[in-house]
């Protein structure tokens, strides 16, 4: 099964991380690749660089943001190939941000042909 691991954290909270977070992310990714679990993964630019797009009544509206200063925001993701939820939880727990943020695991929807 494929699971999307969404990485949520309060912006700036990584400052309290105990250790070298970039090195730990690098190590996690390597480990996931070596285990054949890694499908994809990226970090995202902050919400200050985000734009929101909506089409209403045929016209496209674009706004700056969204901003959510104090709440946890999406900062990146991994797409993981795992046998079951227990394995996905095991990997999610190894993502460095799990120590101060939240990893949301969502199974990918499978459409029947």
């Amino acid at each position: 099964m494929q699971y999307m691991a969404f990485i949520y954290a309060v912006p700036g909270s990584e400052a309290g991380y105990d250790g070298d977070i970039m090195a730990d992310y690098g190590q996690f990714t390597q480990e996931a690749v070596a285990a054949g679990v890694f499908k994809a993964g990226d970090a995202l630019m902050p919400t200050s660089d985000a734009s929101s797009v909506q089409v209403r009544g045929g016209s496209t509206a674009v706004t700056d943001g969204p901003f959510a200063e104090t709440k946890e925001v999406l900062g990146g993701y991994y797409l993981l190939e795992c046998a079951d939820l227990d394995e996905a939880i095991k990997w999610a727990a190894k993502i460095p941000t799990a120590k101060y943020g939240t990893i949301e695991l969502r199974p990918l929807m499978v459409f029947e042909r």
Binding site: M1, Y3, C82, A83, D84, L85, D86, A88, I89, L105, P107
Partner: protein, 397 residues
């Protein structure tokens, strides 16, 4: 349902259902197939006689029915799948060969109590699949509408399927926490039967715990079993003729089930001897000390206080601190108990047992307690406890 069939269902439906779910990985299909087999049994057993192993018969027939249902689905969909099913059907499960039902209940209880499910869903699913209770019976026990319970079960089963919650006994470092989740579900079921008095639920919890222990003996599982057994053993003395609670202090100890106490004690000592203490073993040890005392006054209070201290170290929650404080009062130090209670006021304000305990201890210290009893009474729903608290309030000087 005839009596033999009802008995077979009661005794073995959990095991049969677990075997079906393990094979087909589908709760709904397994339930429907077992239902089909029950209907067939009701039709054929009265005429043809009861099979030598009713549950093996039910499993064999349910397997066939499940395959029939899958075949029908497959025919509508996919030829390759149909081929697979034909292979599956050729596998052993002949009625004669199926005398030994593989016990899949251990895997299933860990699936039902997976932490990715909400606790109320864990409880409902466990009662439905391992105890064979109907959605209606579970709804009744937890005082929710039937439709709500149906929806809760349906959503839990869908999440198991969609999120890939596995059918397996957990391994590695998470075993302890996963077992704790299972034990807390069992204890919740027990208490649901104990407080508003639906003894059937308490009996189911004991049966589940016994079964879990047989499949995977662990000290904490034995501890929980002993704890529940000790509660049950004191049950005959817990109420008076008017269905009012009698406090432990005033209970007629000759009414306690002493052989049951001895059995629980033996198993508890065996668990404790493995030197892997946990909250359930300690709570059972406290309960055992109460059960062994010939009288309230003769209770080994110093030992009980020491156990509460150990319990608080393992699970430092306000509720454990409350029980520790109450034990201090019983051990003859109500002023120290009151001191401890006042520190818990913010954490436990509005929690009925806190106000009931505070009222008792205020009274014991000779302080004004009437208002605190009012607070406790306002938070009480169980009628037997209402009467009990009002009586204590009236007895105030």
């Amino acid at each position: 349902m005839n009596a033999t069939l009802a008995h077979a269902y009661k005794a073995d439906s959990g095991r049969v259902l677990a075997a079906l779910i393990a094979q087909f990985r589908d709760f709904d299909l397994a339930e429907e197939a077992l239902q089909d087999a029950m209907i067939e049994a009701a039709r054929t057993w009265p005429r043809g006689g009861t099979p030598s192993s009713p549950s093996a018969w039910l499993l064999a027939v349910a397997r066939r029915r499940a395959l029939d249902r899958l075949r029908k689905l497959a025919r509508a969909k996919d030829e390759a799948l149909l081929q697979n099913l034909t292979l599956m059907a050729e596998d052993p499960p002949e009625e004669e060969a199926a005398q030994e039902i593989p016990d899949e209940r251990l895997r299933l209880i860990f699936t039902c109590c997976h932490p990715a499910l909400a606790q109320e869903a864990q409880v409902a699913l466990t009662l439905r699949t391992l105890c064979g209770l109907s959605a209606r019976e579970i709804a009744h026990a937890f005082l929710v509408p039937h439709a709500t319970m149906n929806q809760r079960l349906t959503r839990a089963k869908a999440k198991i399927r969609h999120a890939g919650i596995p059918y397996k006994v957990p391994e590695g470092p998470e075993i302890a926490t996963r077992l704790n989740t299972v034990l807390s579900v069992i204890y919740l079921i027990f208490n649901a039967g104990y407080a508003p008095r639906t003894p059937a639920l308490s009996a189911e919890a004991l049966r589940l715990c016994e079964g879990l222990h047989a499949l995977q003996p662990k000290p904490e599982t034995a501890g929980l079993w002993a704890l529940m057994s000790l509660h049950m053993a004191r049950d005959p003395a817990r109420m008076d003729a008017d269905n009012t609670l009698i406090s432990l202090k005033d209970q007629d100890r000759t009414l306690w089930n002493h052989p049951a106490i001895a059995r629980a004690r033996t198993r508890l000592l065996h668990a404790l001897a493995q030197s892997r203490p946990g909250p359930y073993q300690i709570q059972a040890a406290i309960s055992a000390l109460h059960c062994e005392a010939e009288s309230w006054e003769g209770t080994d209070w110093p030992q009980i206080l020491a156990l509460y201290k150990a319990l608080y170290k393992l699970s430092p929650t306000p509720v454990v601190a409350l029980n520790h404080a109450v034990a201090k009062a019983h051990a003859g130090a109500p002023e120290r108990a009151l001191e401890a209670l006042l520190k818990l006021e913010t954490a436990l304000f509005g929690y009925q047992p806190f106000h009931a305990a505070k009222a008792d201890i205020l009274a014991q210290c000779g302080h004004a307690a009437r208002l605190e009893y009012d607070r406790a009474i306002a938070l009480t729903t169980a009628p037997e406890e209402l009467v009990f608290l009002r009586r204590k309030q009236q007895e105030l000087p």
